[in-house]
Symmetry: C2
Subunit: 352 residues, 2 copies
């Protein structure tokens, strides 16, 4: 399951080097409308000049079967073979969908990820999870398929609105919670009014990805310890599904930030996680992410989504919780009453 | 990549034993209209009684995205989780599509194959190739995903028309050609008017599957020696694609029989394969399979399909050929002229 990964702000040079080192017949770029326009010209890859770009609509709502079918058809019509290679240039939506298209085209061709969003760089593009949303459910269809190489950089972050930076930063907070109290406290000090397009921030990103890869390498198919990376995600996915149902999708990273508030409350309640850390996290989230609005009338739907979650076994709600920073607790089965309590506290802490 | 496999005519007992030995929450049967009606009731599995049956249309033409979408939706709506298991009951179309649906549902759930056709039993259901036809091309979309267990039996073969038996038998002939001259000669002696629903024939099937698994185990992702199993398939897939285009699909097994005639001619021409064996094979195929009708006006389309084939590299036509029975020759790049000559000889031998 080894995958290459390079942290650099000289993306084109590294792309050329990686492509020069492998045997392939044709390359294809998959990008969304924004990254095709704003990022692909800035890659400055000599090898990729003139390569066909398969451009898909931007936005999480396009991570669906229709877009996937379009990509499959394009690869087929453009004559991609098993010896071809796909280069995904975009955020998590592009690397998830493009990775899944590659993983299933002619039973699997190689792909390289060039994440352009912070969320993509520190989470979606590494670890081999690919897929699409389906039947109203997030990532309902997909595969584990490792990219041949991922190129992580901070140099495209200036193409993004600040909300996108914040979305990715939530996953970095999650990695910090899984790693150490020191790193968690350090990340809470960030100032979103400064620039993120720096070599210093690339170092912070590298540290964050390294935490993720430690979990991935120990358990690539997520049957054990890798599930720690689902911290915050049981509630986050339910929030996202509810938002989809309302016809107003929310960003995954924001959902994770809000989900972590609910789940660190459960961590406090069930495993003695520090209430001080819970309050610090909640304040940071409220200040920087605002709140996802729910009322108690939404609880039933949210709990239905949670029992439908991939992490659910036998219709139970499962969360990964923490006894303290760096100490995940697996397979906590959450009663409906405890989850409702956590949603109550979430609303309190978010001033809803 | 290890997969369990059992050769038995007590299918229900083995199914119950396999299912009793694993941890899962819900099981789902995927079957086609015919196997749901004719085979599922005969499984006599205690464990599977009352399990939901996801019934799909029969026939290769249903191995498509629409049917796959239906299966995904059913699994999702019926509450399948990552801890659920799928039992595919049917021919190669069901195990290919059902296996791919399982391989991609929530990034992969386990599946068991109960092949009911001879082709399914000796080929499609073992080895981990799953997928659907797409964009007019066979198995254009798919994945390598090993079944948890495959139960090979001869006891459902009496539900099949003789053409289905012959279709599967073509792959057994291929395995024999890849194995030894003795086995090849033995298989040419078969009489299709006798019953195949016997324990003796189950032994012959076991021998055939063992040859296939030897190649699969040595190279699960088909980057090297496993490609031997593509003997006959470059021409076969082109015939199938042409037939699809004509709106009159042909059976894969028949296509393989015809494809082997063309490709053993190339084996003779390029690697000195015995002309006596070529003639013996051609006579057996003509007697039992008839012929797929082509004229020289079809050559261009056929060659275009061959260069579009998954086995093709850089637009060349690639075939696996034989220098003699049991001695595959890999990566033979076939010139357009040689392929046209092979199609001419095929037409001669098939009296077209």
């Amino acid at each position: 399951m080894a995958q290459g990964i390079t942290y650099t702000n000289h993306v084109g040079d590294i792309l050329d080097k990686v492509l020069a080192g492998i045997d392939y017949n044709k390359a294809f770029i998959i990008a969304d409308e924004n990254t095709a326009r704003l990022v692909v010209p800035r890659l400055k890859s000599t090898v990729l000049a003139g390569v066909p770009i398969i451009t898909i609509p931007a936005g999480e709502e396009s991570k669906n079967l229709e877009t996937l079918t379009y990509v499959w058809t394009q690869l087929s019509d453009l004559g991609a073979t098993r010896n071809s290679i796909v280069v995904n240039v975009g955020g998590g939506m592009v690397t998830d969908l493009g990775g899944f298209a590659a993983a299933t085209f002619k039973r699997g061709i190689r792909f390289i990820n060039c994440p352009t969003s912070l969320l993509g760089a520190v989470d979606a593009s590494v670890g081999g999870k690919t897929g699409i949303d389906f039947n109203g459910l997030k990532n309902e269809i997909g595969a584990f398929s490792m990219p041949l190489h991922t190129i992580v950089s901070s140099c495209f972050l200036d193409t993004l609105p600040m909300t996108e930076i914040k979305a990715g930063y939530a996953e970095m907070l999650k990695h910090a919670l899984l790693h150490s109290h020191d790193l968690f406290c350090q990340l809470l000090k960030t100032d979103f009014s400064t620039s993120f397009n720096t070599d210093a921030f690339l170092k912070t990103m590298e540290q964050s990805v390294a935490i993720k890869l430690q979990y991935v390498d120990s358990d690539p198919f997520e049957t054990g310890t890798r599930r720690a990376l689902n911290l915050g995600h049981t509630v986050a996915h339910a929030f996202e599904s509810l938002a989809l149902k309302r016809g107003k999708p929310i960003q995954h990273g924001f959902a994770v930030a809000w989900g972590m508030v609910a789940e660190t409350y459960l961590s406090h309640k069930l495993f003695g996680f520090s209430s001080q850390d819970l309050y610090a996290l909640a304040q940071f989230v409220l200040d920087n992410y605002g709140a996802f609005h729910i009322t108690c009338d939404d609880y039933e739907a949210l709990i239905a989504f949670m029992t439908h979650d991939k992490k659910s076994r036998d219709g139970e709600i499962n969360c990964v919780l923490l006894s303290q920073c760096g100490a995940p607790q697996f397979d906590a089965a959450i009663s409906t009453d405890h989850m409702k309590e956590a949603l109550d506290i979430y609303r309190d802490l978010m001033h809803i």
